[in-house]
Amino acid sequence: MNNKTGVLSFNWDKTLELLKDSRIDSVGLNDRVDSLATRSIKKESKLEALNMLVSMCDLTTLEGEDTEGKISQMVAKAIVPNPNDLEIKNVAAVCVYPSLVSIAKEKIGNSSVKVAAVSSYFPSGQVPMESKLLDTKYAIDSGADEIDIVINRKAFLEGDYRKVYDEILALKEVCGDVHLKTILEVGDLRTYENIRKASLISLAAGSDFIKTSTGKLSVGSSRQACYVMAKAVLDFKNLSGLSAGIKVAGGIRDAKDAIRYLVLIKEEMGNEWLTPDLFRFGASSLLDDVLKQIKKLKTGAYQASYYFPRG
């Protein structure tokens, strides 16, 4: 596990330096990202990619209707994604609201699946700082291994970057050893420049991961956004020596699309990032398609979703 805990990497002045040149050549970027989507991945490589996808999945349910029953169903699926094929190992984590963390933790038992909680008043984050801290503390006290927070988009879009930075810093302090993932909500940020700036601010303030979206907007993750974030993570590594992770979430429904993200990460960041410690997918329905595709590869027959577990 990549550990940057306790390292308050960049003070505000240094962070400002980072943000200085955030211009992005969007034409070139779009071209590059499109060209990476044309790779054809076949047979053994595809199977390997699919298994990798399972290991990188954060199985997620973030609804008002979530109940104990729904969580235990999802956790069961996280531990054994397909009871008919035990070669498929568990997913990386389950992602739930703070009030359900203790239930998820209990159901997971001694499996290696992590529990991630969204906090700081996900998905809007439109509350005073005290409430965000409280929300996060509660999730950690309930046993969360990872915390997903949202950046203060109000402050960001108003140009108050300092506030965005300070809030993440304060939340990182609360987290301590607990893994901190910072959600940029790229759909709200709108431009590539904004995504890059938000990425760098989040990284400088000590995030272990940066994450594209909450999944609550109609605009979710995109490979373009992922590319911008990948570049920011690399630049940050060159300056600080710290490797942060990326989590893409929102709107990634099929294995084909997800594999394109893997190609992008491998080409732009290298094999080092192709691990659940540094790259994750947040998705609720992606896993179903991945399981279907694995079975298709093994049997040669296209599958129906009703033969796979729900959750």
């Binding site: 027959a301 296209y302 599958q303």
Partner: protein
């Protein structure tokens, strides 16, 4: 005046599409020839995805509305009668044969349209059981049906491979080889008849290219074969189908109520009489 020849395309999910592979094959009729789509395995997969969605919508439409939509189909064909007749003549029929064929087709659609809100009473059942219960055999459409059309130059024959599953609420992927032109033209009338997208899909191609995938595809619930196929291929289809407990029917009956029974699944419901 230049004569403009129509490009016939597959009809999938309510849209006219070329084969994803870009391939076509030449269909030589007695008096003309056409380039028609050569359906690939990927096209089949797309058609199944569309049909699954189509099944959700079509099976939930009320029997009464199904009647209306099927009847509208016959109205559409009636309006295009002349162009069908010309097409059948290109395929080698005489004008009289062609006219008779279209009339039979329309007659059959009207019969099935009337049947759409009646089959459930006829096929379902109240079973005698010991105890104070109603025991009901409730009939449900089986799901996505793949139907291989015969090679006859005939609209009536095409409809005989489609109407039975469609009437009870299945979605249908109709696949034609030598008789593709009539089928692809028929797609235009489906498009004008208020059928939900994906409930009835029309493909043209070579069955030998796709039978392996069709018989293995778990989301196809029934394969109906309306033309003679070699025994070894039929055996292979049955073997593959057994892995997903898929129903295979070879040369299905066209006769009244028995024509729809293979496309139904029975759900048994117990209900207390409350006496």
């Amino acid at each position: 005046m230049i004569e403009i020849k129509k490009t016939y395309k597959n009809y999938v999910g309510g849209k006219y599409v070329r084969s994803e592979s870009g391939k076509t094959f030449t269909l030589s009729l007695k008096n003309d020839s056409f380039e028609v789509p050569l359906t690939s395995k990927k096209d089949i997969r797309d058609a199944v995805t569309a049909s699954k969605k189509g099944f959700q919508n079509w099976s939930h439409i009320s029997p009464y509305t199904k009647t209306q939509i099927l009847y509208r189909l016959s109205e559409m064909i009636e309006g295009n009668k002349d162009s069908y007749i010309e097409l059948l003549i290109l395929g080698g029929s005489t004008r009289n044969q062609a006219k008779k064929d279209i009339e039979t087709a329309i007659k059959n659609i009207v019969w099935y349209a009337g049947f759409a809100d009646k089959w459930e009473q006829v096929a379902g059942n109240l079973n005698p059981v010991n105890g104070e219960y109603f025991n009901i055999s409730h009939q449900n459409p089986i799901g996505v049906v793949f139907s291989l059309n015969a090679d006859n130059n005939s609209l009536a024959s095409l409809l005989n491979s489609i109407l039975q599953p469609l009437t009870v609420g299945c979605s249908v992927i109709s696949f034609s080889e030598e008789s593709s032109i009539v089928a692809l033209k028929f797609a235009e009338d489906i498009n004008n008849s208020d059928f939900p997208d994906g409930s009835l899909n029309i493909l043209s191609g070579q069955f030998e290219n796709v039978y392996e995938d069709i018989s293995k595809h778990v989301e196809i619930n029934l394969v109906s074969i309306n033309k003679e196929v070699p025994t070894e291929i039929l055996t292979k289809i049955q073997e593959n189908a057994s892995n997903s407990v898929k129903r295979i029917i070879y040369m299905p009956s066209m006769d009244g109520i028995s024509s729809v029974l293979p496309f139904l699944e029975t759900k048994t419901v117990w209900h207390p009489k409350g006496t």
